[in-house]
């Protein structure tokens, strides 16, 4: 049974771990923080802008890859991405993830922009920005990260991508998450809304202010552990309801993160949270082990394959020092660094070259010297650490993460299978 160490528990690390463990690998998932899902919008993007708005992401991938030869999607083709997205959908089930990876939904953001994304929580689909949509956006006085006027008024002055018009109005509701608390986070609301009694009071209060008409848009705080909370609220209000993602902490992201982590554990993945990989041992062209800083001293994790899924600059996986030397934090891997200056002053201009820095891989996600030979013969990479993408502008982060995770996992399993059959043959 092959042993694999996965470093990083964002969507890439979690998906790869589950796929590996389900196929019989012994997987240790080492993570320092809690992964990027709860910093995200909590949906699965595949490709949102190229740079024009994308309606059918899988169809757009081939052209996008051609225009961006150094992009992860240049080797992760539409079939791979579609399969991986389908795999993730199956892992999470329809209570948490719905949609068609081939078709983007156009959903309102918390400032009232219309954002393309592929797979979403079923609690978000009623927010689709199509001609004739009639929304009532409801804010909560005690939640400072959501302003319903901003959402409604921007939506009302924007032509939806398919043409036509959206009607949107807003209401502010004074309804504390906890008695006497004026400044509550979205997470506090989500936890409160897991409680059926609070939920009922909440829904009736919303019903009281929205009246009869319209689909009700609410901040994405409708329950954390209870995945049916939003549907319950919709029923109590007697209207269609949708959630709008907030800045972090992302409750929808947290739901996905929790579900995937539980799924990984039940697949037998050994999840080791809260510790940093501080070193590694390599010999004979292979990484043999990594050391993890834990209380009482370092612990070695030996494996046949290693998957680096640590993210980009946002997680600390990449670090630029004060001389603009960029380092990969775990293995000090060679990086693909664009020529010229790394940062420019035009905020609304071209993507910043700095943020396209990352590791280069072959088509099986084996990390290589930029354009050259593998750095180690058993070190793979997936997700945000890959060079060439500006995920937040393209709306491509989860698609890259899931597709690269699935392909890397399959490559690791395939090498293990070959080794086993060779071992059996000799």
């Amino acid at each position: 049974m092959t042993r694999v160490v996965v470093i990083g528990a964002g969507v890439a690390g979690l998906v790869a771990s589950i796929r590996l463990a389900d196929a019989g690998a012994r997987v240790a998932l080492l993570n320092k923080g809690t992964g990027g899902l709860q910093l995200s919008q909590g949906t699965i993007d595949i490709l949102g802008y190229a740079p024009e708005r994308v309606e059918r992401p899988l169809e757009a991938l081939a052209g996008f890859a051609q225009a961006h030869p150094g992009h992860p999607y240049a080797s992760l083709d539409a079939e791979c991405v579609g399969t991986a997205a389908g795999y993730l959908k199956d892992l999470l089930g329809p209570a948490l993830l719905v949609g068609d990876p081939a078709v983007n939904l156009q959903l309102p953001t918390a400032v009232g922009a219309i954002r393309p994304t592929a797979l979403v929580s079923p609690s978000m689909t009623a927010g689709a920005c199509v001609d004739g949509a009639d929304f009532v956006i409801v804010g909560l006085r005690q939640l400072k990260d959501f302003y319903p006027e901003l959402v409604a008024q921007n939506l009302a002055r924007t032509e939806p991508p398919g043409g036509g018009r959206i009607t949107a109005r807003s209401v502010m509701l004074d309804f504390p998450a906890r008695d006497g608390e004026i400044d509550s986070s979205g997470l506090t609301y989500a936890r409160a809304l897991d409680d059926p009694a609070y939920r009922r009071r909440f829904a009736l209060a919303v019903k009281g202010v929205v009246g009869d008409a319209g689909t009700v848009g609410l901040p994405a705080v409708l329950g954390l552990d209870d995945h049916g909370a939003w549907a319950d609220i919709a029923e109590l209000i007697g209207a269609e309801v949708f959630e709008i993602p907030l800045p972090p902490p992302s409750v929808p992201g947290m739901r996905l993160n929790r579900a995937l982590t539980e799924r990984a554990k039940s697949a037998g993945v050994r999840v080791v949270p809260g510790s940093k990989v501080t070193g590694f041992h390599a010999s004979g062209g292979s990484v043999r082990s990594v050391s993890l800083a834990t209380a009482g001293g370092a612990r070695e994790f030996v494996a046949e394959a290693f998957l680096l899924a640590t993210g980009g600059f946002e997680s600390g996986a990449l670090h630029a020092d004060s001389y603009h030397k960029v380092h990969e934090s775990v293995f000090d891997l060679p990086l693909r660094i664009p020529e010229g200056t790394l940062v420019h002053g035009d905020y609304w201009g071209d993507p910043q070259p700095l943020f396209t820095i990352g590791v280069d891989t072959d088509e099986n996600l084996l990390v290589r010297h930029p354009g050259g030979e593998p750095v180690h013969n058993n070190l793979y990479a997936a997700g945000g650490i890959l060079a060439g993408a500006t995920r937040w502008q393209e709306k491509s982060g989860e698609g890259i993460a899931v597709a690269s995770a699935v392909r890397a996992a399959d490559a690791i399993l395939s090498v293990a299978a070959t080794a086993t059959s060779q071992g059996a043959a000799s």
């Binding site: 922009a113 972090p248 905020y347």
Partner: protein
């Protein structure tokens, strides 16, 4: 068109202009101050925040040193709420000659700048992050001052004496009637309306822009050379006191704790245009090296923002015009009745923030002399509004306030502990203000996250309280992000890259601000 009238029009809303309008108003003249932008948006807001003890100039510019020492005591008192009495040190690092300290101490004694030589061990005890290799140290009475609060304090005092403060009024022409100034013509930048102000006197306090203003009155060739300096804010205080290198004034020799940050400065490069100051990567590197010399490990600390300011240095025939550092830091008053046969116009330039009140006193004295109307200056003895209690600023002020109101009010900006109430109050006072205007008074978006979390909240609250409409709200949101970036990208390294990645993820990723309506060719003031 709107026509106003005043005895005196003050052009320029930096520290000089604010000081002058206060002084003019306190002497009983009807005064109007105009600035093309917000108060303190020019050089006053783009410096390191040092309230000089005078120590910096005891050898190079003894007259300035004495003035600084005297004004330091006055400003700390009359504008107590804008000043933190941090204290300061002059330290000789391993590359500085400790013997120069003798010359410095002699200068300090002669210029009456209070100081005390202290043991290296005592300094390191007080400032544990300082370079342990320092060989000599003097303690001085440096402080730090919030330039914006200082300017607004003076402006609010002027208002109490009947002055009008017209921000976002760009001067387009100064009319004359024969050999006298008669009218200042402005454009209200927020509405596009023309505003004409009849007056007897114009005090040109436009500093680095003073030459342009004098030119509008038909007085050519007033040469104010912009001496550009960059400053970098680090995300927390590396020292509790101001730290100066014990050397002849040079680049990167000052570290100043101001509010939640500390600021290293500065450089001095002759600039051609005070509106086009650049922050070069090699200057940033130079500041980092200087910081490293004062505080080892400085490069590993987090830089959050950089800016450049233009010192208004009056060209002086004694030094070449390329050498801005050694031009006089003293002030100059140009009397255009002598120079250009135009009565009723004085141009003031040079000087420094610490001595802004004294500069104002001198220029208003000069005006009174030309008008043959002597009236005494009273600005040194009366505290400005907000400083009535005489209590100086301490860094824990806001924490104390939030501890009192946290059950009643939300915190919109966690980095700077700015409450919703503070924000809405400032909005009421400045309903046409941009978020940068409000930032200068509230420190909105000035902490480590550089607006990552508070920008959307500020936008939402401003819209919700009906101070602005959706078009302006969306425009201001975008403008604020764009303007923050001006000061972030030149120093983008280390943990601020990580923060920027998160901020980009929030704004471009989750919120998709790039695809809000109306981005193309947007002009928001």
């Amino acid at each position: 068109m709107l026509t106003l009238s005043a005895d005196v029009v003050v052009v320029g809303g930096g520290s000089t202009g604010a000081g002058v309008v206060r002084d003019v108003a306190m002497r009983g003249y009807k005064a109007i101050l105009v600035d093309r932008a917000d108060l303190g948006q020019g050089t006053t807001g783009r410096y390191h925040g040092l309230l000089h003890s005078g120590g910096r100039y005891v050898v190079s510019d003894p007259h300035s040193a004495t003035e600084c020492a005297e004004e330091n005591a006055i400003i700390s008192r009359i504008q107590a709420d804008a000043v933190e009495l941090t204290g300061g040190y002059f330290v000789a690092t391993q590359v500085d000659d400790p013997a120069w300290g003798d010359e410095w101490a002699k200068g300090a004694t002669e210029t009456q700048v209070p100081f005390e030589e202290v043991s290296v061990a005592d300094v390191l005890k007080a400032e544990p992050r300082l370079n342990p290799k320092i060989s000599r140290a003097f303690k001085v009475q440096d402080g730090s001052v919030d330039g914006w609060q200082m300017v607004w304090g003076a402006a609010n005092s002027a208002k109490q004496y009947g002055a009008q403060i017209l921000t976002y009024h760009r001067v387009t022409k100064i009319e004359r009637d024969g050999d006298r100034v008669s009218q200042v013509v402005c454009t209200d930048e927020k509405t596009g309306e023309e505003v004409r102000i009849d007056c007897n006197f114009v005090l040109n306090c436009a500093a680095a822009w003073g030459g342009q203003i004098a030119h509008m009155a038909g007085c050519p060739d007033v040469q104010v050379v912009p001496g550009a300096g960059i400053m970098i804010a680090m995300n927390h205080r590396l020292t509790n006191s101001v730290v100066n290198r014990l050397t002849y004034p040079a680049d990167g020799d000052i570290l100043v704790p101001v509010h939640t940050v500390c600021i290293i400065g500065t450089t001095d490069q002759k600039a051609d245009d005070p509106d086009q100051l650049k922050i070069a990567w090699d200057e940033v590197q130079q500041m980092m090296d200087c910081g490293e010399l004062l505080v080892p490990g400085f490069r590993k600390a987090r830089a959050i923002h950089a800016w450049a300011g233009a010192r208004p240095l009056v060209k002086d025939s004694r030094v070449g015009s390329g050498d801005t550092r050694h031009m006089s830091r003293g002030m100059s008053i140009i009397d255009h009745s002598d120079r250009d046969s135009l009565k009723g116009l004085l141009t003031i330039a040079g000087g420094k923030l610490t001595t802004y009140r004294l500069m104002a006193e001198k220029v208003v004295d000069a005006m009174c002399a030309q008008l043959d109307d002597p009236r005494p200056c009273r600005t040194a003895t009366e505290n400005v509004p907000g400083s009535e209690s005489g209590k100086n600023y301490v860094i824990t002020h806001r924490l104390e306030e939030r501890e009192h109101d946290r059950h009643e009010d939300q915190i919109l900006c966690e980095c700077e502990l700015m409450s919703r109430g503070m924000f809405t109050k400032a909005l009421v006072k400045q309903p046409k203000g941009s978020f940068d205007d409000l930032r200068r008074q509230l420190r909105l978006g000035m902490g480590p996250c550089q607006g990552g979390f508070c920008t959307m909240r500020a936008t939402g609250v401003a819209l919700e309280t009906e101070h602005i409409d959706i078009e302006r709200a969306t425009g201001l949101l975008r403008l604020f992000l764009k303007n923050r970036w001006i000061g972030i990208w030149p120093i983008l390294y280390g943990d601020q890259v990580r923060q920027t990645a998160l901020d980009n993820w929030i704004f471009q990723g989750t919120l998709d601000v790039e695809h809000l309506p109306g981005l193309t060719h947007e002009e928001v003031v």
